[in-house]
């Protein structure tokens, strides 16, 4: 067991009947980092989190929180949790929900402080049941951080948030990290992992496919996107070496390539008219799709 890790899964296996939710999965959360766990639905993300929270016990392997069993209430006093599908009592006001959850912790933040930091002061005296979907997520985020946790588990925290609310939450997360909190975040919004994560773990079919920094992940995949306005036919470009796919969006051609330099050279040599040339690294979305795809293909092949 690494002395430095705040939470760790090592070699965990978990089956639900015939389904192998986790099949020898390792995960480590280090101090002060934001770790994003990415994976398609059913990959085992939620199972991994529930093992770390002590909601389930692994069939094999170990789950540790602060080097202890997550079943111990003392270690859970150092964590905050925001789950994906939770409905809180609609009759209680946001302020009252915070007061309740904060009472579970030895040294919680003051309620006004929590409201201010999560930008929920305006919601404080409204019944939870009357909030919009996005406002409910904001309130749940306030509950997750009210106990002044050292480690925060956030399951898809920004689902349903408008752009402004999401920006506020991102800022709060960055501030938390800055102040020494560690965060484990699962998300479908890949730009969220790109914007926030120090490290990314990609999980597919119950196994960690890869992990590393966002930059490392992109490097692993190494795909580039090239777009430009041109009259060239997509089927011609598709035949060029290094081109993986071509799409036409009105007058713009969108090319995905493993070797962008070769494609650009070819574009210039082709003497076709083109304008507004843009080359960029593939987003994490593409990297992620590719990684899980490759993993699945390998499994099929083996």
């Amino acid at each position: 067991m690494n002395r430095e890790s705040l939470a760790e899964l090592s070699g965990v296996k978990k089956r639900y009947g015939a389904i192998n939710a986790l099949d020898g999965f390792d995960l480590e959360v280090r101090p002060g980092e934001l770790l994003a766990v990415l994976g398609p639905n059913g990959a085992g993300k939620s199972t991994a989190i529930s093992l770390l929270l002590g909601l389930r016990e692994p069939d094999a392997g170990t789950a540790r929180l602060f080097r202890k069993s997550p079943l111990q209430i003392e270690v859970r006093r150092r964590i905050g949790v925001m789950m994906q599908e939770v409905t809180l009592a609609g009759e209680l006001k946001v302020r009252e929900h915070i007061e309740l959850i904060a009472s579970y912790y030895p040294e919680p933040l003051a309620i006004e402080e929590v409201l201010r930091l999560t930008n929920t002061t305006a919601l404080a005296d409204r019944p939870y049941g009357k909030l919009s979907g996005g406002q409910k997520r904001q309130a749940q985020f306030a509950l997750a951080m009210c106990g002044k946790p050292a480690l925060l588990f956030l399951d898809e925290p920004t689902v349903g948030l408008d752009i402004q609310a999401r920006t506020v939450m991102w800022a709060a997360l960055r501030q938390l990290i800055h102040d020494g909190c560690s965060i484990v975040l699962t998300t479908h919004y890949l730009e969220e992992a790109e914007a926030l994560a120090d490290r990314v773990v990609v999980i597919a079919k119950g196994k960690a496919v890869t992990s590393g920094t966002v930059a490392e992940m992109r490097a692993i995949v190494g795909r580039k996107h090239i777009t430009c306005s041109t009259s060239l036919a997509p089927n011609i470009v598709a035949a060029w070496p290094g081109v993986q796919s071509v799409n036409r969006d009105r007058e713009r051609l969108e090319i995905t390539a493993s070797d962008a330099d070769a494609v650009v050279r070819r574009l210039v040599e082709s003497a076709a008219d083109f304008s507004g040339l843009e080359v960029r690294s593939a987003g994490l979305a593409e990297a992620f799709t590719e990684l899980t795809q490759t993993h699945t293909d390998q499994e099929v092949a083996s």
Partner: protein, 278 residues
């Protein structure tokens, strides 16, 4: 977003022990908000706080008083019976509905992941349902003293209060059992499926026909009612209808034992289920 630093320094350094004062405060906070939430839920508070007193005054005092020409024994029976009816609802539905809903909505799971003190949510529900039961009994006593004239002594009112507040527990245990198995939507239906026969077979509203009488033993309300009638020295409806005095067979100890057994059994099964499945 504020640029102020979050006061999350000494992360991991702070002691994670809760002083017993803080622990008690956590339990008290859980209880406070459970009660507040139940009071604010009209589907719960209106039927279970208002209905008993309205029905008691209407049927127990006015109708039964008229029909019996103010017979004090009938007035006693009516008071005891409606008090039993009054404490059944909060127990069965307070646990049944809320536990099922919270399980379905993931709140039970969230609280298991959070450092909620052991059993705080169930304890809060227990206090909430007994508080509701207490309010119901006290309002019935107020109505009885004001207009019902059952002629009970202060100690008898006190005894009935204690008995019926404690008597809400077996119903709470059955409600909890339903809540740990049913979904949020089906829980009220299942609770009614038990509540209605319990009510009618308890012999609370009318003398049961002879053919149905053997079934009254399955209703916890029957035993609680018998205990209440024993406290005030009145026969139950069946015996009153047949002009025979208070029951000689069975005794308060037997009735109490049955109720304690029901409470223990259903609570144990529910807690086992919650620990395993959540």
């Amino acid at each position: 977003m504020s640029a102020t630093s979050l006061p999350i320094s000494n992360v991991g350094a702070a002691s994670m022990e809760m002083s017993s004062a803080k622990l008690w405060r956590a339990y008290a906070t859980e209880i406070k908000f459970e009660c507040l939430r139940a009071m604010r839920a009209p589907a719960f508070s209106i039927p279970f706080l208002l209905l008993p007193i309205v029905l008691y005054v209407l049927f127990g005092v006015l109708l039964a008083g008229n029909m019996s020409h103010g017979d004090p024994t009938v007035a006693k029976i009516m008071f005891v019976n409606w008090a039993v009816f009054g404490v059944m609802g909060p127990g069965m539905f307070g646990f049944g509905m809320f536990v099922a809903t919270e399980r379905e909505q993931g709140l039970m799971t969230l609280k298991r992941a959070l450092p909620m003190p052991y059993g705080a949510n169930l304890m809060a529900k227990l206090v909430m349902t007994t508080l509701f039961a207490l309010i119901v009994v006290l309002t019935l006593i107020a109505a009885a003293v004001a207009i019902g004239h059952p002629g009970l002594s202060v100690s008898q009112y006190f005894g009935i209060t204690l008995l019926d507040v404690a008597g809400s527990l077996p119903f709470g245990a059955i409600g909890l059992f339903i809540g740990t198995r049913a979904s949020g939507k089906s829980a009220p239906a299942f609770a009614n499926l038990a509540y209605l026969p319990f009510m009618h077979l308890g012999g609370l509203f009318y003398p049961l026909p002879k053919s149905v009488q053997p079934l009254e033993f399955i209703s916890p309300a029957f035993y609680l009612d018998k205990l209440g009638l024993w406290l005030v020295g009145a026969p139950n409806m069946d015996r009153l209808a047949n002009n025979i005095g208070p029951s000689s067979h069975g005794g308060p100890l037997l009735y109490a034992t049955v109720l304690v057994t029901i409470t223990t059994l259903f609570t144990a099964m529910s807690i086992r289920r919650l620990a395993r499945v959540g």
